[in-house]
């Protein structure tokens, strides 16, 4: 397939720091792009799972079984798609990848993502987000640090606030 169908990456927020993205993204399911490194639909990725410069993206309705998680363990990065920013399934997928299956690579949010969702996303284990042209880097960085305190444990903190209070008392 022609590489013109690829979405070229723009500025990326990674681990809370802006950086230039090197990965391209393909949403086409019936042809492997030649460009590298590239993020491709999960279905295509299985045949390229051993390549360090090919990564999968998961649709939001993916059922994350232990078999799938085991296959994903070697992926250089896993992208999770948000077909609409109101589709919250990706938050659960990211948490399961991190907490249940100990995936250590990059988890990237792709698709329709708002900068105002970054705080929750980072708590759920996402560590990279490609910004849209109209999304401002400084807004994103501010949103990421919106809260300094959380009640619940998640990927970032393993202790609920009620336990921390008891520990500090």
């Amino acid at each position: 397939m022609p590489d013109s169908q690829l979405t070229k990456a723009r500025s990326l927020i990674k681990l809370g720091q802006p950086e230039q993205d090197t990965w391209s993204l393909s949403r086409v399911e019936d042809g492997m792009p030649t460009s590298r490194p590239v993020i491709v639909p999960l279905k295509l990725w299985f045949d390229h799972a051993s390549e360090a410069d090919v990564a999968p993206w998961l649709p939001s309705n993916t059922e994350l079984t232990s078999e799938l998680a085991e296959q994903l363990a070697t992926a250089p990065l896993v992208a999770i798609d948000f077909p609409a920013f109101t589709d919250g399934r990706g938050y659960t997928l990211a948490r399961l990848l991190r907490e249940r299956y100990q995936y250590r690579g990059e988890i990237r949010a792709i698709g329709d993502v708002l900068v105002d969702q970054l705080f929750y996303m980072s708590r759920c284990g996402f560590d990279a987000l490609a910004l849209r042209e109209d999304q401002h880097l400084d807004d994103a960085l501010r949103a990421l640090g919106a809260f300094s305190v959380s009640y619940q444990p998640a990927v970032d903190i393993n202790e609920p606030l009620f336990a921390r209070r008891l520990r500090e008392a």
Binding site: D87, G88, Y91, F147, Q152, F162, R165, L166
Partner: protein, 550 residues
């Protein structure tokens, strides 16, 4: 009641800063309408028919007098000097200016309040029993558990974009006053034969356009696992709930589609991974939560005062009426809970003016340890009034117009704001409530009818809980005209049931007449002490139908 520590305060302060920034970006055109929408909703801000509406959270209905005064001051400064208590124990402002909302939230934060998650497809304010901590039939005070759930659900990073809104209600008493069977998740705290605290977990109840009674997911969850179990319940819903059709997106549709066994199986499978994780509750954690709800410093009320109270009651018919209808027994002898009626014809049900808020706050300080509870019936409760002060309180309430001795009667109508305010409504609701209150205002008639729940919703979203009213009224739109559908036999308490539609809908002006005919059938057919609901359950809908459509 619960008091913030620096963590809670930091969180609500940071929330204000966050929303102020979001509002600025929206007003500057850097955040689109669609993108701003979920952000404002999760701060309680709707765009309504005439103006924005701001829904302020009142966690499980508890307010301090200081908070109530602050709410009054906010309605004066930013609104039109009144607010509306909703059926979910929250307070709604109908006329705030969009750009003022960050300032309103900042003022709320100063009195440990917020509007977080009072709307949007997230876990909403947890509701509970208005007589929590004082009810004589209480097994376990639900408030500490509600607070633990409040904290767990507040800014939960995984559950801010659920398929649809998610409501949790908790009861810890024999009698369910929190309508747990018609919530997305209903929790009942109970003790087993070894006196160990257990939680009965229901899921998939709800009202709206497809009303359903919740199914039991787990009968006897040990309390330690409450939060991890809730997390499993919501996670399964987040993954598998429908997102293609907003009318089929509530958890009740998922539970129905999977069947309760399959839903339970998925929850238990998920829970197996979460069980005994960091959110497992400990004795210390629960004790810490309980320490926020200490017994108030009640002075002893002696036997003589109780006798004197009974004497006053015998002597004064008006006072007696008030005591019979608006005063509830208390776990502690010599104390009573008093329900202030917010139902009178001059006001929409649940509406309260800023002056009334101040007055209620003063009464709470004088008579009830400075605390107030909001009920899902849209009234206000002073929970700890010594009997030797009851008459004085009643006198003050009379002067203020909040002593309407009609709590629990036909006149105590639950009603949503309806088409007068709400952009979702198909029809007005408040004028219907007022017309019914006007028609049936004779107290002797109301008392003769006995306990009767009449609930009105202006659309099928059912904010007025019409499905669970003994008599329910639903506003419907037919080709641009307002009609009203009447249903009978709903009930929100232990033996919960959903009302059955009587038949074709009516014009607004005919509704009081229809209700009158329904009541006639009841009065003619009732046996002994039968209340309306029992007569209906015995004789069925047919005799009512025949009379109304004769």
């Amino acid at each position: 009641m619960y008091r913030y520590d620096t963590y809670d305060q930091t969180l609500v302060d940071e929330r204000v800063t966050q929303f102020r920034d979001q509002m600025e970006r929206y007003l500057a055109g850097r955040l689109g309408e669609d993108e701003f929408r979920p952000l404002r909703l999760q701060n309680g801000l709707y765009i309504q028919k005439h103006a924005p509406m701001l829904r302020i959270a009142i966690p499980y209905g508890m307010l301090s007098s200081r908070q109530l005064r602050a709410l009054g001051a906010i309605t004066r400064r930013y609104d039109r000097g009144y607010g509306h208590f909703s059926t979910r124990q929250n307070l709604q402002l109908n006329w705030p200016k969009l750009e003022d909302v960050p300032d309103i939230l900042a003022e709320l934060a100063q009195v440990q309040m917020h509007a977080i998650q009072t709307s949007g497809n997230c876990i909403r304010n947890t509701t509970s029993d208005q007589f929590a901590g004082i009810a004589s039939d209480e097994i376990e005070d639900p408030r500490p558990w509600c607070e633990l759930i409040r904290q767990w659900s507040t800014l939960h990073p995984e559950f801010a974009y659920l398929p649809r809104k998610f409501k949790i209600a908790v009861t810890g008493a024999d009698a369910d006053r929190a309508a747990i069977q018609v919530h997305d998740i209903g929790l009942r705290l109970w003790r087993n034969e070894r006196n160990e605290l257990r939680v009965k977990v229901l899921a998939g109840g709800g009202m709206g356009r497809t009303p359903m009674i919740g199914d039991v997911v787990r009968e006897d969850l040990p309390w330690q696992h409450l939060l991890t179990y809730l997390e499993a319940c919501v996670r399964v819903y987040n993954q598998f709930g429908r997102r293609d059709n907003k009318f089929k997106a509530r958890i009740k549709i998922l539970v129905k589609a999977l069947g309760i066994e399959e839903y339970r199986r998925r929850v238990e499978e998920e829970w197996a991974h979460l069980k005994d994780g960091p959110q497992t509750l400990t004795e210390e954690a629960v004790e810490a939560a309980r320490s926020h709800f200490p017994e108030p410093d009640r002075r002893p009320v002696d036997e003589q005062a109780i006798i004197e109270h009974e004497r006053l009651r015998q002597e004064n018919r008006n006072f007696a009426r008030f005591v019979t209808n608006n005063v509830t027994d208390h776990r502690v002898p010599g104390y009573k809970a008093v329900t202030l009626s917010l139902k009178r014809r001059e006001h929409a049900p649940g509406n309260v003016t800023a002056d009334q808020m101040d007055a209620i706050a003063d009464l709470a300080d004088t008579y009830s340890f400075g605390e107030v509870r909001v009920t899902h019936e849209q009234n206000v409760v002073l929970s700890d009034v010594p009997v030797d002060q009851l008459e004085a309180l009643w006198q003050e309430l009379e002067t203020l117009g909040m002593a309407n001795p009609t709590v629990g009667t036909l006149n105590d109508i639950i009603c949503c704001p309806g088409g007068d305010y709400c952009s979702l409504a198909n029809a007005v609701a408040i004028p219907v409530a007022q017309a019914i209150q006007e028609r049936f205002e004779d107290l002797d008639f109301l008392y003769d009818l006995g306990p009767l729940d009449l609930n009105i919703s202006g659309c099928m979203n059912a904010c007025g809980h019409h499905h669970v009213g003994h008599i329910g009224i639903l506003g419907v739109d037919k080709k641009g005209e307002e009609y009203y559908q009447v249903s009978l036999g709903g009930n929100a308490t232990d033996d919960a049931s959903l009302g059955k539609i009587l038949g074709p809908s009516f014009y607004r002006e005919d509704v009081p007449e229809v209700i009158d005919k329904v009541l006639q059938v009841y009065v003619e057919q009732r046996q002994d002490e039968e209340i309306f609901l029992d007569t209906y359950r015995r004789i069925g809908i047919k005799p009512f139908k025949e009379r109304v459509y004769a």
